[in-house]
C-alpha cells in the first residue's frame, strides 16, 4: 500500500479523534437535565371574559383572578440533543480532513514554488473564510436576530379614577372588594355575596 496513503489515513484518524474530543460537549451521552420552566409577569392589556356569580358564603365581593392571567409560563427551550450536534461535528471533521488530504496530495506533486503558493493560498483561504464566517451572525438568507439591548419598559401611566358605572345583572359593589388568585380558570370571575343566581357574563342583558 502507498505509504503516503497510510500517512494520510493516520493523520485523518488522529485529527478526527482530536476534533471529536474537542467538539464533543460534556455530557453528550448523559441523559438531558430538565430545566424548570420560566415564569414571567404578564404586562399590558389582555382580553378576558368577566363572569359575575353569586356565592351566599361570601361576606364581601371577591374578584377571582386565574394564575394564568397574571404570569406567563415560557415553554422550555428545545434542547439541542446529541444528534443535533453531529452535523456540525461531521462538517468540521470533513473540512479538516479535506485540508490534510489536499495538503498531502499537493506535497506529493508539483514543484516547490507551486506547493508553497498552494499552501499559502490554502491557509489564507481557511483563515479568511473562518474570520469572515465568525463575524456573520446568520446566513444571508436567514433574518438576523435582534441585537441584545436594554429591556424595553413601557411607560407607566397613572390611571385616572374612572367614573362609577352601573354593573349588569343589577350588581352593586362596595368601595372595597377582595381579590383572590386561583390556580384554575381562564377568565375573571366576580363573586358577590347573595342568593344563588345563574352566572351572567358581563355584557349580557340583566335579568
Amino acid at each position: 500500500m502507498n505509504p503516503r496513503l497510510i500517512a494520510a489515513v493516520a493523520v485523518c484518524v488522529l485529527l478526527a479523534a482530536g476534533v471529536a474530543v474537542y467538539a464533543m460537549p460534556p455530557g453528550l451521552f448523559s441523559p438531558p437535565v430538565r430545566q424548570p420552566a420560566k415564569s414571567a409577569w404578564r404586562v399590558g392589556p389582555q382580553d378576558v371574559k368577566l363572569t359575575v356569580v353569586t356565592d351566599p358564603k361570601l361576606k364581601a365581593p371577591r374578584l377571582l383572578i386565574p394564575r394564568s392571567l397574571l404570569v406567563t409560563t415560557t415553554p422550555e427551550p428545545k434542547r439541542v440533543g446529541a444528534a443535533g450536534r453531529i452535523p456540525a461535528v461531521m462538517a468540521g471533521l470533513a473540512l479538516s480532513s479535506a485540508l490534510v488530504v489536499g495538503g498531502l496530495w499537493l506535497a506529493g506533486k508539483g514543484g516547490r514554488r507551486t506547493r508553497a503558493a498552494a499552501l499559502v493560498l490554502g491557509v489564507l483561504a481557511v483563515i479568511g473564510a473562518g474570520t469572515a464566517w465568525a463575524d456573520i451572525p446568520a446566513p444571508w438568507w436567514q433574518p438576523r436576530p435582534p441585537r441584545p439591548g436594554p429591556p424595553f419598559m413601557p411607560p407607566v401611566e397613572k390611571p385616572e379614577a374612572p367614573p362609577a358605572l352601573k354593573l349588569p345583572a343589577n350588581v352593586t359593589l362596595p368601595a372595597d372588594i377582595q381579590i383572590e388568585v386561583v390556580d384554575a380558570g381562564e377568565g375573571l370571575r366576580l363573586a358577590i355575596p347573595g342568593a344563588a343566581r345563574p352566572a351572567a357574563p358581563l355584557g349580557t342583558p340583566g335579568r
Binding site: V80, G81, A83, G84, I86, P87, A88, M90, A91, G92, A94, L95, S97, A98, L99, V101, G102, W105, G108, K109, W140, W141
Partner: protein, 336 residues
C-alpha cells in the same frame, strides 16, 4: 508534410453552423416554454418523457457495458453495489420521516450519512478510474470529495437542491463525452448550447424576479415548487426556481430522448445489435431483450399511473428515479 496540411476527412469537418443554430433554437424554445408556463411545462414534460428517457438511458448504458469485465470487474461491482445500496438508502431517506417517525435531528443525521456515502462512492469510482487506462492523476478527488461532504453536512437542504439542479447537467456532460468519442464535429454545437445556458437562466431570473410570487393553489403545484427548491432558497423567487428547474428538466429529456440515441447508439434502440454483452452468447441476448421489454412494460405502467393519479405517480416516480440518477455516475466517470 505537416499535420496541418493533411487532408481532412468528412468526419473531421466541422458541422455546418445550421446544426449549432438549430440546437440553440431548441434550447431557447425550451427556455421560453419554461418561462411562460413553468408548472404546465414540468407536468407535461414528466408525463411524456419521464418513462422513455429512463428506458433510453438504460439502453445506452447497456451499449456501454463491456462484454467481459476483465480488469474492470471491481469498478463495475462497486458501481452496481452503489447503485442498489444507495437507491435503497435514498428510499429510506424519503420514507424516513413518515414510516420510521424520524424527528428533524435524526433525519439530518441519516441524510448526512446517505449523502456522505454517495460522495465517497463517486470519489472511489473516480479513484479506481484513475488506475485504469488512460491513467490520470486523480489525487485531487479525495480533498474535493471531503469538501463536498462538509458542505452536505453543513447545508443539507442546499446540497439536496444542488443535486436536483446538477442532475440535468450530467446528461449534457455525458453527451459531450459521447460527441467527443463519436461525433467530434458536433462539439461546437454543444458548446454553443452550454454557453447559452447562463444567459437563458439569467433571462428567466429577470423575467420572474420582479413579478408576483408564485403561489400554486393545488398540492401538485406545491410539490413541484418544493422539488425545485422553493422552500430551501427563500431569498430566490419560487417562480424562477420552478421555471429554471422545468427548463433544465426538459433539456435533460431532450438529451436522452433525442440527442443520445442519434449520437451514442450504433443501432436503433429496440435492436440489440452492437451491444457488447450480446457477444457472450444467445442466453445473454435473451436476458437483455427481457430487460428491455420489462423496461417498456414499466414505462406503460408509469403512463397508466400518470393517467390514474398524476400527483401520486409523480411522487413515486421521483422517489424511484434515483436509480437512474445514480447509474449516470459510473458511466460518466468511465467516459472521462
Amino acid at each position: 508534410m505537416s499535420a496541418a496540411a493533411l487532408p481532412r476527412t468528412a468526419e473531421d469537418a466541422p458541422a455546418p453552423p445550421a446544426v449549432g443554430l438549430a440546437a440553440l433554437a431548441v434550447t431557447a424554445g425550451l427556455a421560453l416554454i419554461a418561462c411562460l408556463a413553468p408548472l404546465r411545462a414540468s407536468i407535461v414534460a414528466v408525463f411524456l418523457f419521464a418513462g422513455p428517457h429512463n428506458w433510453l438511458e438504460a439502453r445506452y448504458f447497456l451499449s456501454r457495458l463491456p462484454a467481459r469485465a476483465g480488469r474492470l470487474r471491481g469498478y463495475f461491482t462497486l458501481a452496481f453495489a452503489g447503485i442498489v445500496g444507495l437507491s435503497a438508502a435514498f428510499l429510506v431517506l424519503i420514507a424516513g420521516p413518515g414510516v420510521w417517525c424520524l424527528d428533524g435531528e435524526a433525519w439530518a443525521v441519516v441524510h448526512g450519512i446517505v449523502q456522505t456515502a454517495l460522495i465517497l462512492w463517486v470519489a472511489l469510482l473516480a479513484h479506481m478510474r484513475g488506475h485504469t487506462n488512460p491513467r490520470r492523476d486523480r489525487g485531487w478527488v479525495w480533498p474535493a470529495a471531503l469538501l463536498l461532504v462538509a458542505f452536505a453536512w453543513a447545508f443539507p437542504s442546499l446540497w439536496s437542491a444542488a443535486l436536483v439542479y446538477t442532475h440535468p447537467l450530467l446528461a449534457l456532460w455525458l453527451l459531450g463525452r459521447e460527441l467527443q468519442r463519436s461525433r467530434p464535429e458536433l462539439l461546437p454545437a454543444l458548446r454553443l448550447v452550454l454557453m447559452s445556458l447562463p444567459a437563458l437562466l439569467a433571462l428567466l431570473w429577470w423575467r420572474h424576479s420582479g413579478g408576483p410570487e408564485m403561489s400554486p393553489g393545488d398540492l401538485l403545484g406545491m410539490r413541484i415548487a418544493d422539488h425545485a427548491g422553493a422552500g430551501v432558497l427563500p431569498g430566490v423567487s419560487a417562480a424562477f426556481l420552478v421555471s429554471a428547474h422545468a427548463f433544465l428538466e426538459m433539456l435533460h429529456y431532450a438529451v436522452w430522448v433525442f440527442a443520445m440515441p442519434l449520437v451514442g447508439l450504433k443501432s436503433p434502440p429496440w435492436s440489440l445489435d452492437g451491444v457488447p454483452l450480446t457477444w457472450r452468447g444467445p442466453r445473454w441476448r435473451w436476458i437483455l431483450a427481457g430487460l428491455l421489454l420489462a423496461g417498456l412494460f414499466l414505462m406503460l405502467v408509469l403512463w397508466a399511473g400518470f393517467l390514474i393519479d398524476y400527483p401520486a405517480a409523480r411522487s413515486v416516480y421521483f422517489a424511484v428515479a434515483i436509480v437512474h440518477v445514480l447509474a449516470e455516475f459510473p458511466f460518466l466517470i468511465r467516459s472521462l
